[in-house]
Amino acid sequence: MARIDLQHLRHSYLTNPVRDEDYALKEVHYTWDDGGAYALLGPSGCGKTTLLNIISGLLRSSEGKILFDGKDVTELQPEGRNIAQVFQFPVVYDTMSVHDNLAFPLRNRGVAADEVERRVSETLDMLDLKKWADKKAKGLTADVKQKISLGRGMVRSDVNAILFDEPLTVIDPHLKWQLRSQLKLLHKQFGHTMVYVTHDQTEALTFADKVVVMFEGEIVQIGTPEELFERPSHTFVGYFIGSPGMNVLPVDIKGITAKIGETRFDLSGVPNLKPGVRTDLGIRPEFITLGEKGIPVSIQKVEDIGHQKIVRAAIEGMDIAVVIDEDASIPADPHVVFDPRRVNIYANDWRVEMEG
């Protein structure tokens, strides 16, 4: 287990990168704590897999350094970094038994036979794999295979970090719930440093202590699930996290007063704005109340998704989504009220603080 320092990392797949756009990964400079659970979240092509491969050593970054517990590992190959990785599609050694799959990384490193047995047996218990121990890995289901991949990492006592590359892609929804919570429990019990790459917000948010949201090669926000949900620092984070995403509406702001279309209302404070910037108001569908008072809206569609309803509505032609309870009813003359404490103001897409 190790602390991971990412120092001024940049990466380009081109040989002679010049402009900023040439970099698949723009400057990353962070420290990730020992024993932390981090998720790299973003759409495809955002650079999350590039960053993961730089950490695992499969890719050498064009610039910058990477340190494990203060030791420079930038030049080391994956086998020298003592990391483990679980891939999108299960990777198991088909011809070996489950037991031998777990023993493989230890035997490769010349660990003594009785120590191998002890560690493998412990890991089989940890992951509930005992009943398959003597089976060939080939015929097993995808969820068991993913556990075997994880086991090959957990079996090593010297592992610095366990990396996950969209590990639940091929798993059915019900089993996802089981595997996800089991993984979380393992992290709580054994405290490995874990890095989890995904485009699925639910997986990222439920797994990680800190979620790293990436967009176009840049880290736009690192925060706890709560921070990302309540105070997204960029409109992209607001859109990408939450389902449906945050409503973003163009707004005019004078002091404490916000004006959307022709409707005026007061904010909880005065946003710290520089003149001449484009301003937007961000409000989550969960923090809008549908009722008889407030801003008038026209309702276009109500989607009943079982445990709640999503109301698609419009304020003066601008689309918004509102989430209401499954048994809530729609008022005849619908209006909405934004919870003022949950309103975020954005200047050129970046969140600004409010005063007072």
Partner: protein, 287 residues
């Protein structure tokens, strides 16, 4: 998975069935016919039962050429399969050099068999051929038309040159189908080069190598043109393989009965080996 249900498809298969009937089943039946009869010319035939089979199986000449045949097939399989895999493993994975290698590898496969034989014949001549002259210049006493060992050495070298490429191409295709994440996982698990081969590459090559083995077995077991053009079965009978012997018996000596019996024994042996090998590998697949 299932297929579209349409019985009309059988009509399209009919011509093929007809052709197979004409060019395989009918000649085979003629051979069966010859193998159980005796003739003294004038198109007069007498039924002889299994006399020819008994005679052929107990003849030393047949046993010798059969032994030579197995020795040849065994040796070239032992060389070509591992060599093919090694070459495939060391070829570049992508880029321009991968294409160049593939083209170079396919070249020997494109040359007609009798040309291969003629080429090697000249190549190996001790007085003017590059190989023959070179070996003698290096101090080896080499003459494939006179020495049995030299003849065998040349025949095997020629077959390896001609056919290893086939194994290479099959193995290369098999290797390319392995997902990159397997190699990455193996690096992370600290696997040695040998372990990667043993636990990732070899299991994935199983199917193509079965195919390569069968193709090479059948082809080499029936090999005729190349050794015939190169050595004519000599010196003496030292490189007379089954097929060469068969042609000698049938056309040289016009001994139709024993040639017919030989052909059938030959055919059944090939079939048996293929069947045994196929069921054996497929069985391993299920468990």
């Amino acid at each position: 998975m299932g297929k579209t249900q349409n019985n009309k498809a059988w009509f399209f298969v009919l011509p093929v069935l007809l052709i197979v009937l004409l060019n395989a089943v009918v000649p085979l039946m003629t051979v069966v016919n010859y193998s159980v009869q005796e003739t003294f010319g004038n198109n007069l035939f007498f039924f002889e039962g299994v006399k020819w089979f008994r005679e052929v199986l107990s003849s030393e000449r047949f046993q010798d050429s059969l032994l030579r045949q197995f020795a040849f097939t065994g040796i070239i399989l032992l060389i070509e399969i591992p060599l093919g895999v090694v070459i495939a493993l060391s070829m570049p994975k992508s880029g321009i050099w991968a294409s160049v290698c593939l083209v170079l590898m396919s070249l020997p496969l494109l040359i007609p068999w009798n040309v291969v034989g003629a080429m090697w014949n000249i190549f190996a001549l001790p007085d003017i051929g590059l190989l023959g002259y070179g070996l003698n210049a290096l101090g080896f006493d080499y003459n494939f038309t006179r020495q049995a060992f030299s003849a065998w050495f040349t025949v095997i070298l020629m077959d390896v040159w001609h056919w290893t490429s086939l194994v290479v191409l099959l193995a290369y295709a098999g290797l390319r189908s392995i997902d990159d994440s397997y190699y990455q996982a193996a690096r992370i698990d600290g696997a040695s080069r040998w372990a990667v081969f043993r636990y990732i590459q070899l299991p994935n090559l199983k199917h193509v190598l079965t195919l390569a083995f069968l193709l090479r077995f059948i082809d080499s077991f029936m090999v005729y043109t190349e050794p015939f053009v190169l050595t004519g079965g000599g010196p003496g009978n030292t490189t007379t393989f089954l097929s060469i012997d068969l042609v000698k018996t049938a056309l040289g000596e016009f001994n139709l009965g024993s040639a017919g019996a030989m052909s059938l024994i030959y055919f059944l042996m090939t079939l048996l080996v293929c069947w045994v090998f196929y069921t054996f590998t497929m069985k391993g697949e299920e468990s």
